[in-house]
Symmetry: C2
Subunit: 409 residues, 2 copies
């Protein structure tokens, strides 16, 4: 469109060391001209401060070529045709994106402090450590709030557990109302909903909602009737039940992967059948639709939506409905498998942080524990709020960039 | 698992009018036994107050059958085998989900006041009215804030425009700092991010970021480096530029649909290639990955991610990278097509509400308008914030349930 840099116009002959028509130059690692030009790091193409790209794809000449290459020790200078634009790339940076000399993918280097994970999408199963109960020794990863506050390495370790395992429990968060909001702020931003910034989970003697009874609640993800679903849930215990009321956590990605291995047809049904979840009360009418097992475009497990309480009637022809319910049952059985599930009895001050796109949470009934289903057993009181994984992931990346070690916990 | 209701145990013979083995009863509309049982509306299966389902799929007997049917004028009573559980359905309700007597899908009735749209997923292209500039007479839908506040029908009309067209401009929002937050609260909840609850968009003479210059900004969606992406963006004009600085809006769903029609291979590339968007500053390191054109499991356009400024280098073999950049260019050309784009010069007090999963926004350069690129032309000042579509959709549904007419605007 326009010439975006001074420098060679193409009319001047390149110096002797230049290799004209250098698209095959080994330093370019097979990266095509359009890729190189679209990622030109010069100050006219990319803002040096923010790293934002200043020119769009339609500003790149449609017939862009590599007219010449000059490779030195660490830098590779490229002159583009037809407009003579010049770019200087780091040789190592190009190597990170281009084809390796042999086979096997190279790791792209982290930019701007982002820890390179080797995964192009850190939200899919490929970037997670899937677990059954035995893999975790039967209980979720744990951390300690006073140390979390004082020690960036411990904070990074706790938050990384949410990214890798989908759950962490922090002990000794002050058991005062609203403390859960401080935990949320430490890892990102509260997602306010029609339930407020904060909501109460309290057992009540005569309850209209299953959550406010002493009944067990099957493993589920929260709020699948919302889109975007809140991607992080926090629950903070102010008072534990006298007996029972244990929290359960299941790795929904692993349950889905197990289903894929054992019953591929059921897995395929749940990944391709959009279902609707619904919730309504006096102030809200919420509906959202998506598959129970959401995949990325490459077929990797990426988001679980699972909540029998809010699933709306499916609208499918009879044969497909039978297939769907059989698949749904097969997934529910794997999600509810005791060997898949870890249990933790939240004590006063414990705060659990869950990846709500992946880990299903539930609870055992209160009366099961000690057989004392008295009124005092109903004093279990949690406070909860929602947040999002982008903020949490950013918090971990900033800690990594700023040098917080990964040890601890 | 357990018998969930009193009533017939199956041991008692049904009355004469009962039709044993009634799964083929026409009143059941072909709905299979497992569907009927999973959606049993009795108080043991579904909480009468909240509508929440109280039993999960694993509580439904795997060998559930319809043992008998008793159809009256408006009610259809079903006895299930093997456990004798009973359900009473509304005949019309069943008709809404089951197979119609002839061909063609029946509309499911709205539940709990949710207006039935006929779409199982109101976030895909099927539920939208795609538009080019001419379809809108060259300008976005508009409303008037004082009337929006006073008249629920006008409020419903304005917010419905965001759902159907992806954009609305409200005039005469008080041009005081922070007023955009009041607009956000009227339709849902502010999504706080690392930019704050509120952010400033101000032209500055010497800017480090393209947004804070007088340069044009190509059509884009905001924050594709965030996941979940904020699904609603609000921008409120406190001071207009002396000349130029017009806002542009493009229906990204239509641009994608046009691409699908004209270049199916390019469309397929952009729907199946996850790309990464990145942003970082002193306090945040954000990366998110997804296809530029996101589809639902049935192949319908559902989410656009489009922002040349924050696209990270793609990591693909050379041939695929060439294909990708050609497809990206083809989409960018359609998104930037003047015939696709409506323009609005935001005046003091105007507030635009955009569906950030669909509509691309941009702006023209400031100096292009009146040729007076003086310092005073740099006084353009917007305030923005993010919110989410689930809250906005709920607000519309509540207005519909409460009887706010759809007229107005």
């Amino acid at each position: 469109m326009t010439s975006l840099a001074s420098g060679s116009t193409g009319a001047e002959p390149p110096p002797a060391r230049w290799e004209p028509d250098g698209a095959d130059h080994p330093a370019l690692r097979g990266l095509p001209a359009v890729w190189l030009r679209a990622n030109c790091p010069c100050a006219a193409c990319q803002d040096p401060g923010s790293g934002q790209r200043l020119v769009g794809i339609t500003d790149v000449p449609a017939d862009v070529t590599v007219a010449g290459v000059l490779a030195s020790g660490t830098a590779v200078e490229v002159v583009f045709g037809p407009d003579g634009h010049r770019a200087v790339f780091g040789r190592g940076w190009l190597a990170g994106y281009g084809e390796p000399p042999g086979q096997g993918g190279a790791e792209p280097p982290g930019r701007d402090g982002a820890a390179p994970s080797g995964h192009d999408d850190d939200r899919t199963e490929d970037a997670k450590r899937l677990w059954a109960a035995a893999d975790l020794g039967g209980e979720p990863p744990r951390g300690w709030w006073p140390r979390y506050l004082a020690d960036p390495a411990h904070r990074r370790s706790c938050l990384s557990a949410v990214l890798t395992h989908g759950v962490v429990i922090l002990h000794d968060v002050p058991s005062v109302p609203g403390a859960v909001l401080a935990v949320a702020k430490s890892l990102g931003y509260v997602r306010e909903t029609n339930y407020g910034r904060l909501f109460e989970v309290r057992a009540e003697p005569a309850a209209a909602n299953l959550a406010f009874t002493r009944l067990p609640i099957a493993p589920h993800t929260d709020n699948p009737y919302r889109d975007p679903v809140p991607t992080v849930q926090l629950l903070h215990c102010l008072h534990a039940a006298a007996a029972g009321g244990d929290s359960t956590f299941t790795d929904g990605f692993r349950a889905a992967a197990v289903l894929r291995g054992q019953d591929p047809a059921a897995f395929a049904c749940l990944t391709t059948t959009p279902v609707t979840f619904a919730y309504s009360d006096a102030a809200a009418v919420l509906r959202a639709t998506g598959p129970m097992i959401g995949l990325d475009p490459r077929g990797r497990i990426r988001q679980i939506r699972f909540n029998g309480r809010s699933l709306a009637p499916v609208r499918l022809p009879a044969a497909q409905a039978r297939t769907f319910y059989a698949a749904y049952r097969a997934f529910a059985e794997r999600a509810g498998d005791p060997e898949a599930m870890v249990t933790a009895r939240l004590s006063r001050g414990d705060c659990v942080i869950v990846d709500n796109t992946r880990v299903l949470h539930g609870r055992t009934g209160f009366a099961d524990g000690g057989g004392t289903a008295s009124a005092s057993a109903g004093r279990r009181h949690l406070q909860g709020c929602y947040a999002d994984l982008d903020g949490l992931t950013s918090a971990v990346a900033v800690l990594a960039r700023d040098g917080a070690g990964g040890a601890g916990s």
